[in-house]
Amino acid sequence: MNNMEASKFEKLRFVGSRPIRHDGLEKVTGQARYGADISFPQMLYGKILRSPYAHARIKSIDFSRALALEGVQAVVTSSDFPKPWLTDETGIDSKLINIKFSSNNVLAGEKVLYKGHAVAGVAASNAYIAEKALDLIDVSYEILPPILDVMQAIKVNAGIIHEGMFPYPESGLIASEFNSSLISNSTLDMSNHHQGDDSKYSNIAGYYIQEIGDIDKGFMDADVVVEREYNTGSVHQGYIEPHSATAIWNRDGKVTIWCSSQGHFGMRDQTAEVVGIPASDIKVIPMEIGGGFGGKTTVYLEPVVAMLSKKTGRPVKITMTRQEVFEGTGPTLGSYMKVKIGATKDGMITAAQALLAYEAGAFPGSPVNMGAQCIFAPYDIPNGKVEGFDILVNKPKVAAYRAPGAPAAAFAGETVIDELSCKLNIDPLLFRLKNSAKEGTRRISGPVFPRIGFLETVEASRIHPHYLSDFGGPNRGRGVAAGFWFNGSGPSSVIVNANADGTVSLIEGSPDIGGTRVAVAMHVAEVLGIPIADVHPSIGDTDSIGFTSMTGGSSVAFKTGWAAYQAAQDLKAQMIERASDIWDVEAGEVNLKDGKFNHSTNQDLQMDFKELAGMLNATGGPIVGRAAINPGGAGAAISVHIVDVEVDPETGKLTILRYTVVQDVGKAIHPDYVEGQMQGGAVQGIGWALNEEYIFDKEGVIKNPTFLDYRMPTSLDLPMIDTHIVEVNNPGHPYGVRGVGEVPIVPPMAAIANAINSAVGIRMNTLPMSPPVLLEALWANNGAGKVYGD
């Protein structure tokens, strides 16, 4: 482990240690309660009727036969949801269009927009009856041609997914009158761009551009220019726990929802919008979550079970099947990308240009702006231009997936960087080092970087034993790639109660997905000097703790860790005050060190934390520490991956021989969980690189909606993923924390593609690089030195 600037934290007792997680026993013994584990007397079970078509207009829905089935209690459709976006004058209030999209994704409105799109919900006395009732709902469809990728979406006569909603909605930086001219001048071939029957409509939901310097001059100054095109397919987050939600709509109008999510406050607020009641009338109780990776930040079932409960007056639960998860929840994007980078003979980048066209799915909102901001972020680019297109297709609405938008972009950007370094005969890590962004570097998007650890991470990679080792052998190769992720922050609330037995109850609002309970508790232990096991963390429901933004953006250890630090400081100050009252001295004369209160000069005045905690109720009452913050300074994350592969030229099968993740983590609060995130991100990226993809037929039907056919890597497919923690402390956090969860998924696809080129001399430009694709590339190129797809 490198300990850059570590002196500030040398005296920490608990931060940096590896204690057992508080929730470990419950989880390994099966006692932890996940979304589907909730049950109530008189509870009804729900099922969702889903569209068999990728694109169709709903002409009518008749559920009278379903309601007549014994045991069926209620059916809901989109007509049961309020429609605040409709106005008398215009039909649609554009300010409320996002509510319409959210509502119509939960239950389809005028059209179904992807295979698996929810159409109706049924509640019955058991799940079998509910399932049977689905067959009794008669839906009349007018089938429309599906639009399945970005290039098809912009073709003449491709059809329009949302009539009347576009062109290019006026949402912030997307200004329609300027978009049109910008898009027509963009590098995406829009000559065949379909604009609907009256030239008003489009499947392009958004456009984004950022520039720095003079891109034309930058390419003129280059000695070598590489330009490539890329295509990537849709992949799913692949969390193990399917979505599940249970609701009780009480007669007083108050609603309680149990679900597993990445943010129960977000679930509350989104549900409130869709069902049309105040958020304060809804309480969401968070269950344990079996993985999310960004995909559990959106409501799917919650409004449906709420409305079914309202209709029946009974608790209602719906749990998705795996097929429903694949077909009805957000995957990440498919994309078309074009990247062009120029450099001088001595390896300095003079210009970098990218076009990213990302699938949004059925509703606007791909993370193309994030991909656009990440693609060249590790580098100091003097002249740059990045354009992003958000394009509607008849696939499930994309949801966030670990560093949303960045992995696909890095696949394109980092393989062009690699090709440039090869053409210039410069070591690929040295090439990155020469061009690395550092503190003060102005990004293409405008702001300058604060302290980041790209230099240190690349340096650590260059001297890593893996990089210095020999990977020799036929058809073997090594690849490297870098990745960048912003890291997020947001509002977070924490309460700490001093208990009479000397323990501390910690209530936070961040669902724990990756071991953050213990990481947050470690902040409290460090401030108070008490054992980590004496801090008892729990996740409060939406009525029990202040607003806390979602567990996403690699933000929890940063924002909620900081909130816990602040709450513990508040508790500490109050307890010092109480000790001073008991001792009849000034508070400024009392200290807390290593869990013991003492007077600065009178050594007879000492008591440990537990002793004072036991006296609180009798000396003025309990003490509660609190913090509600929204901190800035999250600090960006950088990761460099090194991978050795072997390609079987007979079958196209690729074997990962060795894999190392080198990452700047700021300060590793709990190194075990930091390493776990680094390994987990790499494994997900390897799956994305080699196997994972939604396979659609020409009608837009997913042909592999099970884990049997949607191939995710297992431990049997992989070697041990080695990790190397670099600690360039984040000056924006009390203990130097940077988010760690997302950036490790950014480099794997490019690193593996670069390793394939090293092994067999083929530049891959599609994902996944599965055995049949790789074999076809080997056959097509009949040797080395070509680009597959050219």
């Binding site: 930086l173 300027f178 969860g741």
Partner: protein, 89 residues
């Protein structure tokens, strides 16, 4: 005066300027002054008087948690950039 960087998307609205110097005490005042100079600018940044949900303001390289209330200094840099979400674990 604070340096306000105009997003590429809005430069046509701001007479092609990529950067402007604005005498403003906070971001809201800067947006108001830009709207006076370039009518319609505010509409692209604000909705119902608040920053649009898909936009964040970065001041001096740091995403502002205060948004329009963020104070500006004479050497401050202001950027309007798309908001970032995410999804680890």
């Amino acid at each position: 005066m604070a340096r306000v960087f105009i997003p590429t998307m809005l430069r046509a609205l701001a007479d092609g300027n990529a950067e402007l110097k604005i005498e403003a005490s906070n971001v809201r005042e800067a947006v108001d002054l830009l709207d006076v100079k370039f009518p319609g600018f505010k509409l692209q940044i604000l909705e119902d008087g608040k920053l649009r949900s898909n936009i964040v303001v970065a001041v001096d390289g740091e995403t502002s948690r205060l948004g329009l209330l963020e104070k500006l200094h004479t050497d401050s840099e202001v950027h309007f950039i798309p908001a970032i979400g995410g999804g680890a674990q």
